[in-house]
Protein backbone atom coordinates (compact mmCIF):
# COMPACT_ATOMS: atom_id res chain seq x y z
CA UNK A 1 0.00 0.00 0.00
CA UNK A 2 3.01 2.30 0.01
CA UNK A 3 2.69 5.33 -2.20
CA UNK A 4 6.02 6.29 -3.76
CA UNK A 5 4.99 9.89 -4.35
CA UNK A 6 4.16 10.44 -0.71
CA UNK A 7 7.55 9.19 0.41
CA UNK A 8 9.36 11.38 -2.02
CA UNK A 9 7.59 14.55 -0.92
CA UNK A 10 9.10 14.13 2.54
CA UNK A 11 12.64 14.49 1.20
CA UNK A 12 14.01 17.81 0.12
CA UNK A 13 15.39 20.96 1.59
CA UNK A 14 14.22 20.37 5.15
CA UNK A 15 15.09 16.69 5.29
CA UNK A 16 18.39 17.44 7.03
CA UNK A 17 16.46 19.03 9.89
CA UNK A 18 14.42 15.91 10.45
CA UNK A 19 17.04 14.33 12.70
CA UNK A 20 15.20 15.11 15.95
CA UNK A 21 11.45 14.53 16.24
CA UNK A 22 10.78 17.83 18.00
CA UNK A 23 12.06 19.97 15.13
CA UNK A 24 9.99 17.80 12.82
CA UNK A 25 6.77 18.70 14.70
CA UNK A 26 7.65 22.33 14.08
CA UNK A 27 8.83 22.10 10.48
CA UNK A 28 5.88 20.04 9.25
CA UNK A 29 3.48 22.89 9.96
CA UNK A 30 5.71 25.51 8.45
CA UNK A 31 6.36 23.76 5.18
CA UNK A 32 5.41 20.17 4.40
CA UNK A 33 1.87 20.36 5.82
CA UNK A 34 1.44 24.11 5.55
CA UNK A 35 -2.11 24.76 6.78
CA UNK A 36 -3.02 27.13 3.95
CA UNK A 37 -1.06 26.06 0.88
CA UNK A 38 -1.10 22.30 1.41
CA UNK A 39 -4.04 21.47 3.69
CA UNK A 40 -6.24 24.35 2.42
CA UNK A 41 -7.70 25.05 5.88
CA UNK A 42 -8.96 28.30 7.38
CA UNK A 43 -9.57 29.94 4.03
CA UNK A 44 -12.06 32.64 5.04
CA UNK A 45 -9.72 34.94 7.02
CA UNK A 46 -6.89 34.16 4.61
CA UNK A 47 -8.79 35.71 1.73
CA UNK A 48 -10.70 38.39 3.57
CA UNK A 49 -8.04 40.30 5.48
CA UNK A 50 -5.00 39.76 3.25
CA UNK A 51 -5.49 42.99 1.26
CA UNK A 52 -2.50 44.62 2.99
CA UNK A 53 0.62 43.06 4.49
CA UNK A 54 -0.02 44.67 7.87
CA UNK A 55 -3.57 43.32 8.22
CA UNK A 56 -2.43 39.89 7.11
CA UNK A 57 0.37 39.81 9.67
CA UNK A 58 -1.88 40.96 12.52
CA UNK A 59 -4.55 38.42 11.63
CA UNK A 60 -1.94 35.65 11.37
CA UNK A 61 -0.47 36.47 14.78
CA UNK A 62 -3.92 36.62 16.42
CA UNK A 63 -4.82 33.23 14.97
CA UNK A 64 -1.46 31.75 15.98
CA UNK A 65 -1.97 32.98 19.55
CA UNK A 66 -5.45 31.41 19.79
CA UNK A 67 -4.10 28.22 18.25
CA UNK A 68 -1.26 28.01 20.77
CA UNK A 69 -3.39 28.71 23.83
CA UNK A 70 -6.21 26.36 22.82
CA UNK A 71 -3.74 23.60 21.95
CA UNK A 72 -2.14 23.93 25.40
CA UNK A 73 -5.48 23.86 27.22
CA UNK A 74 -6.98 21.05 25.14
CA UNK A 75 -3.85 18.98 25.56
CA UNK A 76 -3.71 19.49 29.34
CA UNK A 77 -7.40 18.68 29.72
CA UNK A 78 -7.37 15.75 27.29
CA UNK A 79 -7.88 13.14 30.03
CA UNK A 80 -10.79 15.00 31.65
CA UNK A 81 -12.97 15.87 28.66
CA UNK A 82 -15.57 13.14 27.96
CA UNK A 83 -15.46 11.88 24.38
CA UNK A 84 -19.11 12.67 23.60
CA UNK A 85 -18.87 16.39 24.29
CA UNK A 86 -15.29 16.97 23.15
CA UNK A 87 -16.05 19.09 20.07
CA UNK A 88 -18.37 21.37 22.06
CA UNK A 89 -15.71 21.75 24.77
CA UNK A 90 -13.03 22.57 22.20
CA UNK A 91 -15.25 25.24 20.64
CA UNK A 92 -15.90 26.77 24.07
CA UNK A 93 -12.17 26.85 24.86
CA UNK A 94 -11.41 28.44 21.49
CA UNK A 95 -14.25 30.99 21.86
CA UNK A 96 -12.89 32.06 25.26
CA UNK A 97 -9.43 32.76 23.86
CA UNK A 98 -10.86 34.53 20.83
CA UNK A 99 -12.84 36.85 23.11
CA UNK A 100 -9.61 37.63 25.01
CA UNK A 101 -7.77 38.32 21.74
CA UNK A 102 -10.61 40.49 20.47
CA UNK A 103 -10.53 42.71 23.57
CA UNK A 104 -6.70 42.79 23.59
CA UNK A 105 -6.50 44.00 19.97
CA UNK A 106 -9.15 46.62 20.69
CA UNK A 107 -7.01 47.84 23.61
CA UNK A 108 -3.78 47.91 21.59
CA UNK A 109 -4.99 49.57 18.40
CA UNK A 110 -8.55 50.67 17.69
CA UNK A 111 -7.62 51.35 14.07
CA UNK A 112 -6.39 47.80 13.50
CA UNK A 113 -9.48 46.42 15.23
CA UNK A 114 -11.65 48.41 12.85
CA UNK A 115 -9.87 47.23 9.70
CA UNK A 116 -9.99 43.56 10.76
CA UNK A 117 -13.64 43.95 11.73
CA UNK A 118 -15.69 40.85 12.45
CA UNK A 119 -12.92 38.58 11.24
CA UNK A 120 -11.26 38.51 14.66
CA UNK A 121 -14.42 37.02 16.14
CA UNK A 122 -14.60 34.64 13.22
CA UNK A 123 -11.33 32.99 14.35
CA UNK A 124 -13.69 30.80 16.42
CA UNK A 125 -14.84 28.97 13.31
CA UNK A 126 -11.40 28.70 11.72
CA UNK A 127 -11.24 25.02 10.81
CA UNK A 128 -7.47 25.01 11.32
CA UNK A 129 -7.72 25.53 15.09
CA UNK A 130 -10.46 22.97 15.61
CA UNK A 131 -8.70 20.45 13.42
CA UNK A 132 -5.42 20.79 15.38
CA UNK A 133 -7.30 20.43 18.67
CA UNK A 134 -9.11 17.32 17.46
CA UNK A 135 -6.33 15.70 15.43
CA UNK A 136 -3.27 16.56 17.50
CA UNK A 137 -3.67 18.23 20.90
CA UNK A 138 -6.29 15.76 22.16
CA UNK A 139 -3.88 12.86 21.61
CA UNK A 140 -0.45 14.27 22.48
CA UNK A 141 1.50 15.69 25.43
CA UNK A 142 1.56 19.42 26.20
CA UNK A 143 5.14 19.84 24.94
CA UNK A 144 4.39 18.26 21.58
CA UNK A 145 1.15 20.24 21.23
CA UNK A 146 3.01 23.50 21.85
CA UNK A 147 5.51 22.65 19.11
CA UNK A 148 2.70 21.64 16.77
CA UNK A 149 0.82 24.88 17.44
CA UNK A 150 3.96 26.96 16.95
CA UNK A 151 4.72 25.25 13.65
CA UNK A 152 1.18 25.46 12.32
CA UNK A 153 0.84 29.05 13.58
CA UNK A 154 4.09 30.06 11.90
CA UNK A 155 2.96 28.36 8.71
CA UNK A 156 -0.32 30.25 8.83
CA UNK A 157 1.40 33.61 9.45
CA UNK A 158 3.84 32.85 6.62
CA UNK A 159 1.04 32.01 4.20
CA UNK A 160 -1.03 35.06 5.14
CA UNK A 161 2.01 37.28 4.74
CA UNK A 162 2.79 35.81 1.30
CA UNK A 163 -0.74 36.68 0.15
CA UNK A 164 -0.91 40.07 1.82
CA UNK A 165 2.48 41.19 0.50
CA UNK A 166 1.65 40.25 -3.10
CA UNK A 167 -1.77 41.88 -2.98
CA UNK A 168 -0.55 45.11 -1.40
CA UNK A 169 2.48 45.36 -3.68
CA UNK A 170 0.52 44.89 -6.91
CA UNK A 171 -2.71 46.54 -5.84
CA UNK A 172 -1.27 49.59 -4.16
CA UNK A 173 2.43 49.70 -5.06
CA UNK A 174 3.37 49.73 -1.38
CA UNK A 175 4.58 47.32 1.30
CA UNK A 176 3.58 47.99 4.94
CA UNK A 177 2.40 51.39 3.71
CA UNK A 178 5.76 52.46 2.23
CA UNK A 179 6.00 53.05 -1.52
CA UNK A 180 7.98 50.16 -2.91
CA UNK A 181 7.65 50.22 -6.68
CA UNK A 182 8.95 52.89 -9.12
CA UNK A 183 6.72 55.92 -9.65
CA UNK A 184 5.50 54.97 -13.12
CA UNK A 185 3.82 51.81 -11.80
CA UNK A 186 0.10 51.65 -12.47
CA UNK A 187 -1.54 49.92 -9.50
CA UNK A 188 -3.70 46.89 -10.25
CA UNK A 189 -6.84 47.81 -8.32
CA UNK A 190 -8.27 44.34 -8.87
CA UNK A 191 -5.72 42.84 -6.46
CA UNK A 192 -7.21 44.72 -3.49
CA UNK A 193 -10.76 43.84 -4.45
CA UNK A 194 -12.23 40.48 -3.35
CA UNK A 195 -11.47 38.92 -6.74
CA UNK A 196 -7.75 39.61 -6.25
CA UNK A 197 -7.78 37.46 -3.12
CA UNK A 198 -9.05 34.47 -5.07
CA UNK A 199 -6.55 35.02 -7.89
CA UNK A 200 -3.55 35.44 -5.60
CA UNK A 201 -4.37 32.36 -3.55
CA UNK A 202 -4.88 30.34 -6.74
CA UNK A 203 -1.47 31.52 -7.93
CA UNK A 204 0.27 30.47 -4.70
CA UNK A 205 -1.43 27.06 -4.75
CA UNK A 206 -0.26 26.69 -8.33
CA UNK A 207 3.33 27.44 -7.32
CA UNK A 208 3.14 24.88 -4.50
CA UNK A 209 1.66 22.30 -6.89
CA UNK A 210 4.44 22.85 -9.42
CA UNK A 211 7.05 22.55 -6.65
CA UNK A 212 5.45 19.29 -5.49
CA UNK A 213 5.40 17.91 -9.03
CA UNK A 214 9.08 18.78 -9.52
CA UNK A 215 10.01 17.08 -6.26
CA UNK A 216 8.17 13.89 -7.10
CA UNK A 217 9.84 13.72 -10.51
CA UNK A 218 13.43 13.94 -9.28
Amino acid sequence: MSNPVQHKTNTGFFSSLKASPSTDEFIKGLWRDNPVFVQVLGMCPVLAVSNTAENALAMGLATAFVLLMSNVLVSSLRNFIPKQVRIASYILIIATFVTITDYAIQAISVELHKSLGAFISLIVVNCLILSRAEAFASKNTIGKSVLDALGMGAGFVFALFCLGAVRELLGNGTLFGFPFLPGGFQAWIVMILPAGGFFTLALWLLIFNIAKERRSKT
Binding site: V40, L41, M43, C44, P45, L47, A48, A88, I91, L92, A95, T96, V98, T99, D102, Y103, A118, S121, L122, V124, V125, N126, C127, L130, V190, L193, P194, A195, G196, G197, F198, F199, L201, A202, L205, L206, N209, I210, E213
Partner: protein, 193 residues
Protein backbone atom coordinates in the same frame (compact mmCIF):
# COMPACT_ATOMS: atom_id res chain seq x y z
CA UNK B 1 -32.55 50.72 14.96
CA UNK B 2 -31.57 50.54 11.32
CA UNK B 3 -33.89 52.14 8.77
CA UNK B 4 -32.94 50.25 5.58
CA UNK B 5 -35.91 48.86 3.68
CA UNK B 6 -36.38 45.10 3.58
CA UNK B 7 -35.88 44.94 -0.20
CA UNK B 8 -32.60 46.83 0.13
CA UNK B 9 -31.37 44.42 2.80
CA UNK B 10 -32.26 41.38 0.71
CA UNK B 11 -30.56 42.64 -2.47
CA UNK B 12 -27.51 43.79 -0.56
CA UNK B 13 -27.04 40.49 1.29
CA UNK B 14 -27.68 38.23 -1.68
CA UNK B 15 -26.05 40.04 -4.62
CA UNK B 16 -24.07 43.19 -3.86
CA UNK B 17 -22.34 41.95 -0.71
CA UNK B 18 -22.59 38.26 -1.49
CA UNK B 19 -21.36 36.34 1.54
CA UNK B 20 -19.11 34.01 -0.43
CA UNK B 21 -17.83 36.19 -3.25
CA UNK B 22 -17.47 39.57 -1.51
CA UNK B 23 -17.06 38.73 2.20
CA UNK B 24 -15.27 35.37 1.81
CA UNK B 25 -17.53 33.69 4.36
CA UNK B 26 -18.23 29.98 4.06
CA UNK B 27 -15.33 29.27 1.71
CA UNK B 28 -14.71 25.79 3.17
CA UNK B 29 -18.03 24.21 2.09
CA UNK B 30 -17.81 26.37 -1.03
CA UNK B 31 -14.60 24.56 -2.05
CA UNK B 32 -15.62 21.21 -0.55
CA UNK B 33 -19.12 20.47 -1.79
CA UNK B 34 -19.25 22.46 -5.02
CA UNK B 35 -18.26 19.49 -7.19
CA UNK B 36 -21.79 18.33 -7.97
CA UNK B 37 -24.93 20.33 -8.65
CA UNK B 38 -27.18 18.14 -6.49
CA UNK B 39 -25.13 18.31 -3.28
CA UNK B 40 -24.58 22.03 -3.83
CA UNK B 41 -28.33 22.76 -3.89
CA UNK B 42 -28.98 20.63 -0.82
CA UNK B 43 -26.12 22.20 1.09
CA UNK B 44 -27.42 25.65 0.17
CA UNK B 45 -30.87 24.74 1.47
CA UNK B 46 -29.53 23.37 4.77
CA UNK B 47 -27.32 26.40 5.35
CA UNK B 48 -30.18 28.82 4.61
CA UNK B 49 -32.40 26.97 7.08
CA UNK B 50 -29.80 27.05 9.88
CA UNK B 51 -29.11 30.71 9.06
CA UNK B 52 -32.78 31.63 9.53
CA UNK B 53 -33.08 29.88 12.90
CA UNK B 54 -29.74 31.05 14.30
CA UNK B 55 -30.37 34.61 13.13
CA UNK B 56 -33.62 34.73 15.09
CA UNK B 57 -31.93 33.17 18.15
CA UNK B 58 -29.06 35.66 17.88
CA UNK B 59 -31.55 38.51 17.93
CA UNK B 60 -33.04 37.23 21.18
CA UNK B 61 -29.65 36.57 22.78
CA UNK B 62 -28.39 40.01 21.90
CA UNK B 63 -31.42 41.61 23.57
CA UNK B 64 -30.87 39.43 26.65
CA UNK B 65 -27.13 40.19 26.87
CA UNK B 66 -27.81 43.92 26.58
CA UNK B 67 -30.39 43.59 29.36
CA UNK B 68 -27.97 41.85 31.76
CA UNK B 69 -25.06 44.01 30.58
CA UNK B 70 -22.67 41.23 29.56
CA UNK B 71 -21.54 41.91 25.97
CA UNK B 72 -18.32 39.89 26.40
CA UNK B 73 -20.43 36.70 26.42
CA UNK B 74 -21.72 37.46 22.91
CA UNK B 75 -19.30 35.32 20.93
CA UNK B 76 -19.47 32.31 23.27
CA UNK B 77 -23.26 32.29 23.46
CA UNK B 78 -23.67 32.73 19.69
CA UNK B 79 -21.45 29.76 18.91
CA UNK B 80 -23.18 27.59 21.52
CA UNK B 81 -26.58 28.48 20.07
CA UNK B 82 -25.46 27.75 16.52
CA UNK B 83 -23.96 24.41 17.55
CA UNK B 84 -27.12 23.36 19.36
CA UNK B 85 -29.35 24.59 16.52
CA UNK B 86 -27.43 22.44 14.09
CA UNK B 87 -27.75 19.50 16.48
CA UNK B 88 -31.51 20.07 16.80
CA UNK B 89 -32.00 20.40 13.06
CA UNK B 90 -30.03 17.21 12.59
CA UNK B 91 -32.21 15.26 15.05
CA UNK B 92 -35.38 16.78 13.57
CA UNK B 93 -34.46 15.85 9.98
CA UNK B 94 -33.36 12.37 11.07
CA UNK B 95 -36.78 11.76 12.65
CA UNK B 96 -38.93 13.41 9.98
CA UNK B 97 -37.15 12.44 6.77
CA UNK B 98 -34.41 9.79 6.95
CA UNK B 99 -33.90 10.03 3.19
CA UNK B 100 -32.96 13.72 3.34
CA UNK B 101 -30.77 12.98 6.37
CA UNK B 102 -28.78 10.41 4.43
CA UNK B 103 -28.46 12.72 1.43
CA UNK B 104 -26.97 15.55 3.51
CA UNK B 105 -24.67 13.21 5.43
CA UNK B 106 -21.55 14.77 6.90
CA UNK B 107 -22.39 18.26 5.61
CA UNK B 108 -25.05 18.75 8.25
CA UNK B 109 -22.80 18.71 11.38
CA UNK B 110 -20.13 20.63 9.46
CA UNK B 111 -22.48 23.63 9.19
CA UNK B 112 -21.49 24.45 12.79
CA UNK B 113 -18.05 25.55 11.65
CA UNK B 114 -19.38 27.46 8.65
CA UNK B 115 -18.21 31.03 9.18
CA UNK B 116 -21.12 32.40 7.12
CA UNK B 117 -23.55 31.58 9.93
CA UNK B 118 -21.56 33.10 12.79
CA UNK B 119 -20.67 36.00 10.49
CA UNK B 120 -24.35 36.62 9.78
CA UNK B 121 -25.17 36.73 13.50
CA UNK B 122 -22.29 39.14 14.18
CA UNK B 123 -23.08 41.42 11.23
CA UNK B 124 -26.78 41.72 12.05
CA UNK B 125 -25.84 42.68 15.60
CA UNK B 126 -23.32 45.30 14.52
CA UNK B 127 -25.81 46.73 12.00
CA UNK B 128 -28.48 46.74 14.76
CA UNK B 129 -31.21 45.25 12.56
CA UNK B 130 -34.70 44.75 13.99
CA UNK B 131 -36.37 41.34 14.15
CA UNK B 132 -37.98 41.39 10.69
CA UNK B 133 -34.89 42.98 9.17
CA UNK B 134 -32.70 40.21 10.67
CA UNK B 135 -35.01 37.59 9.20
CA UNK B 136 -34.81 39.13 5.71
CA UNK B 137 -31.04 39.56 6.07
CA UNK B 138 -30.68 35.85 6.86
CA UNK B 139 -32.92 34.97 3.91
CA UNK B 140 -30.86 37.13 1.55
CA UNK B 141 -27.55 35.76 2.84
CA UNK B 142 -28.79 32.20 2.44
CA UNK B 143 -30.04 32.89 -1.09
CA UNK B 144 -26.70 34.47 -1.99
CA UNK B 145 -24.76 31.53 -0.56
CA UNK B 146 -26.91 29.04 -2.48
CA UNK B 147 -26.60 31.07 -5.68
CA UNK B 148 -22.79 31.20 -5.49
CA UNK B 149 -22.58 27.50 -4.66
CA UNK B 150 -24.89 26.47 -7.52
CA UNK B 151 -23.11 28.72 -10.04
CA UNK B 152 -19.71 27.29 -9.24
CA UNK B 153 -21.00 23.72 -9.16
CA UNK B 154 -22.43 24.17 -12.66
CA UNK B 155 -19.14 25.54 -13.94
CA UNK B 156 -17.14 22.76 -12.32
CA UNK B 157 -19.41 20.09 -13.81
CA UNK B 158 -18.72 21.53 -17.27
CA UNK B 159 -14.98 21.61 -16.58
CA UNK B 160 -14.98 17.86 -16.01
CA UNK B 161 -15.01 17.50 -19.79
CA UNK B 162 -12.36 20.13 -20.49
CA UNK B 163 -8.67 19.44 -20.83
CA UNK B 164 -6.93 21.01 -17.87
CA UNK B 165 -3.21 20.70 -17.03
CA UNK B 166 -2.60 18.46 -14.04
CA UNK B 167 -1.03 21.10 -11.79
CA UNK B 168 -4.02 23.42 -12.03
CA UNK B 169 -6.63 20.75 -11.25
CA UNK B 170 -8.42 20.91 -7.91
CA UNK B 171 -8.49 23.83 -5.52
CA UNK B 172 -6.40 26.19 -7.65
CA UNK B 173 -8.85 25.92 -10.55
CA UNK B 174 -11.89 26.40 -8.30
CA UNK B 175 -10.32 29.51 -6.82
CA UNK B 176 -9.62 30.94 -10.28
CA UNK B 177 -13.27 30.43 -11.26
CA UNK B 178 -14.39 31.96 -7.97
CA UNK B 179 -12.22 35.00 -8.71
CA UNK B 180 -13.86 35.49 -12.10
CA UNK B 181 -17.32 35.03 -10.54
CA UNK B 182 -16.41 37.59 -7.89
CA UNK B 183 -15.48 40.04 -10.65
CA UNK B 184 -18.85 39.52 -12.34
CA UNK B 185 -20.70 40.04 -9.06
CA UNK B 186 -19.01 43.42 -8.75
CA UNK B 187 -21.32 44.51 -11.56
CA UNK B 188 -24.14 44.49 -9.01
CA UNK B 189 -22.55 47.20 -6.88
CA UNK B 190 -24.85 50.19 -6.44
CA UNK B 191 -27.95 48.07 -6.94
CA UNK B 192 -30.77 48.61 -4.46
CA UNK B 193 -29.24 51.65 -2.76
Amino acid sequence: MNTESLWQIFISASLVNNFVLAYFLGICPFLGVSGKMETATKMGGAVTFVMLISSMCAYGIHALLVAINAPFLQLISYIVVIASTVQLVEMFIKKMSPALFRALGIFLPLITTNCAILGLALFQTSKSYGFVQSFVYALGAGAGFTLALVLIAGLREQLEFAEVPNVVKGTALTLLIAGILSLTFMGFSGLGS
